[in-house]
Structure formats: structure tokens, C-alpha cells
């Protein structure tokens, strides 16, 4: 997976960062913060490897 950007998105109902908007292989996707989701797992793998940073959510 070629992940070129990632930013947390705040759920308007829970106020939590429940998803990550990421551009993966050129497509803008909403990746849930949910281990075993393959996109989330890859994002976290790249974050731990220091090759990707997840930007903070936009302030409402």
C-alpha cells in the first residue's frame, strides 16, 4: 500500500477520533480505527516504522 497522507477525523456524535482519512494508492479512504482492518493495521505499521505521520483532526 502506498499511503501518501493520513489525518484523524472526529466523529461528530462521539467526539472521538474514530477514523483516519487516508490517501491510499491515490484513493481517498475513510479507515476506521479498528485493529484487524488491513488499512488501519498498515497505517499503524508505517507510523511505528516512522515512515508515516497521522495529522491531528481538524478543529470543528
Amino acid at each position: 500500500m502506498n499511503i501518501t497522507s493520513a489525518q484523524y477525523q472526529t466523529d461528530p456524535y462521539t467526539g472521538n477520533n474514530d477514523s483516519i482519512v487516508a490517501v491510499i494508492d491515490g484513493v481517498t479512504m475513510s479507515v476506521p480505527v479498528y485493529p484487524t482492518n488491513r488499512h488501519y493495521d498498515e497505517i499503524m505499521r508505517q507510523v511505528e516504522a516512522g515512515t508515516l505521520t497521522i495529522a491531528d483532526a481538524e478543529t470543528p
Binding site: S19, M29, P32
Partner: protein, 403 residues
Amino acid sequence: MSTLKTASLQHPDASSNTIHLSASGNVGIGTNSPTAKLDLGGNNVAGISSINSGQVSGRRNLIINGDMQIAQRNSSVAGISSSSTYQVVDRMFIRNSGAGTFTNSHSTDNPGYGLKRSIKFECTTADSSLAADDFAYMGYKMEGFDAVKLLKGETGAGYATLSFWVKSSETGTAVVRFVDIPNNRSQGHAYTINAADTWEKKTITISMVDGSNKVNYDNTSQFVLVFWLAVSTNRTSGTLQSSWTNNLTADEAVSQTVNIVNTTSSYINFTGLQFEVGDTATSFEHISYGEQLALCQRYYEKSYNDTVVPGSVDVSGWSGGDKPSGTAGRFRIEFKTTKRGNPTVTTYHHVTGTSGQMYTSTNGSVSTAISGVGMNRVQIAMNGGALSGNAEVGCQWTADSEI
């Protein structure tokens, strides 16, 4: 040893023959004119607890979309020089790490027997001299809820049998690797592609007896089948382990000589993948297109019609709702099939095809905000809050919970 020659057997108290033997070698029970090797004359069979050491009936094939019918993502993807994802055919994971460049397609080439589609890999940039760590494979990842049926490491463990059709421009030896993910155990088996450009059916039976090394009963990847397409010395320098052994990279594909990126236009097709409990490969288990699609939708679902590639400009079947003035338009989507896990959701503006956006009838293109993602539903909303004016809002979408 003498031979009892008779055409029929009859109990002394019976009034008619019980077993009839025909000159052509057929055996009839309840019929004097058997038309098959064993003809029961329409009578019932009772007391069968197993066929080929596997279940008597129902779903035998543990591989979803083994007949390659369903390809929701695309019909063909060219230029695959690096891949670690699903490209074309549902449930078939494509990995390429440095092994040339190929096109992956949903092919109409087939061996017959009711199989109408296959998955094809065709080289477009050759790599006949692979570097030591180069490799490519097609993988099938089985979640634990399904993999436990193999009984690996369980009480009652016996055998499982893989059968499949293959056709390739390349002859030689290829390898299928069976991987137990949680226990880091695997085994590999070689098969031979005897003739170029010819469909051949292959069968591999493996033991599921492996001490107490069982897979987990959950929704994560627990058992993987690896069909090597091309591989080099880092994975062929060890020993081909034909029984369960701790994973060792050097053992992964020993004996593989087939390289589908050997020359430009080298290719390989697969179809009719069936993995079943028991020591015998039974005929491919055909199910309806609708059933196969529903099974695939546990892992990937889209709003588009079956043959429309996500990201296409297409208004058929888009999801949406109405946005009253002064609000942020939003709507809920109920998935057709419960997902394996919370899915990645991608929206596409159905008028422009742009990902991460939705259509509004009064506010132009608006980025989307996904919330409340679950295995059964999701909410899609306009990102950025309320906008003035009544509007119709909507988009096409995909939900991906592949392993």
C-alpha cells in the same frame, strides 16, 4: 484363487434378486439393469456418516469465489510491479515484490466443467533473472471462523485436499504453500505444469494433524494458501517441507521453476480452486452467482452495479438523501452483508468519480465525513458542517473489510 461367476445374488428367503452384476461391470442393488458402477435403483442410502472422510453434504469448498466468478474491483489492472492488496478477482490477494511487471485480469479462458472465468497473470515487463529476494504470488486468506473447519491440530484432525485448474505458457514445477498464521507453521507441495497453454487439474492432499497447533476461532487471517507465480533463491534454497514445520523463508518455495515473468507475454491462469476436508478431491462445488457474490460481500461491497469499476462516473444505484437548509446533509447505508470487521469506506462523487467526495445539488462537490462505521451500517455526511439551501446529496461507495 477361484472366481465366483454369477449375474445375481439372492437371499434364500427372498423372492427376488438383491444384487445384480452386469456384463459391463455395473452393480445393481434393487435393480436388475444397473446403468452405473453402483446403481441403487432409486432406493435410499442410510447410515452414511462421512464421504471421503469429510462432511456428507453442504458446503465442502472452504474457498470463497474459487470459480473466480466475482470481480467487483476491476476487470483488469495493468502495470503491477509492486502489490500487496486485492486487485481484480474478489478474495484473491496479489503480492508482487520485484518480480517484473504483470497485468492481472478477470479472464474468460476456462477449462469447462461449468467454470466460466479464471484469474490471469500476464507478464508485460519480463524479469528472467530475479534478484534473490524477488517474488510474486496469489494468496487466499481464510479467516478463523472458516479455517477451524479444517480441524488443524484439533481432535478428529485428518486430511484436507486442495484441487484447482491451472494453465500457463510456462511448463515446469510450481509450489503451493499452506500457512498456519497463528502458529507460524507451514508446508509446501510441488505440482507440475506438464504442457504449455493447456488446462490441467491439480490435486494436493495434506495432513491436518499437527499436535495441538490449532487456528483461532475469530475473524482474523488464520490460514493462507500461497500460489507462487515467481520466486528466487531466498525462498528456494532450503528444503520443501511436506509436513507441518516452523516457518523458514528458505523453505517457502523450494522446487519452483515456473516464473510467470520469464518472458513478455508469459502467463498463468487459475480457476476451480477448492479446498475441502478429506483425502479426496471431489468435483468442484458450484453455487449460484448470487450466493458467491453474497459470500464475497462479507469482505468487499460496493454501491455500483456489478460490472462498474469504483471511481467510474456512474449514477446507477448511488446512495443519498435530502439535506434541509441550514443542516449538513447525511444519510445511512445498510450493508447487504454483515462485514468481517469494521470496513474502510470510500465515497465517490458519482458525477465526477472523485474519491472522498459526495454530490450536492446546490453546493457543488463536498468532501465526506464517515461516522458510526460498523459491520452492518455506516453514516455518510457532508464534511464541514451546515450549509444553506435545500439539497439532494449522495455518492457511490465501497466498503472494504478484506483481510
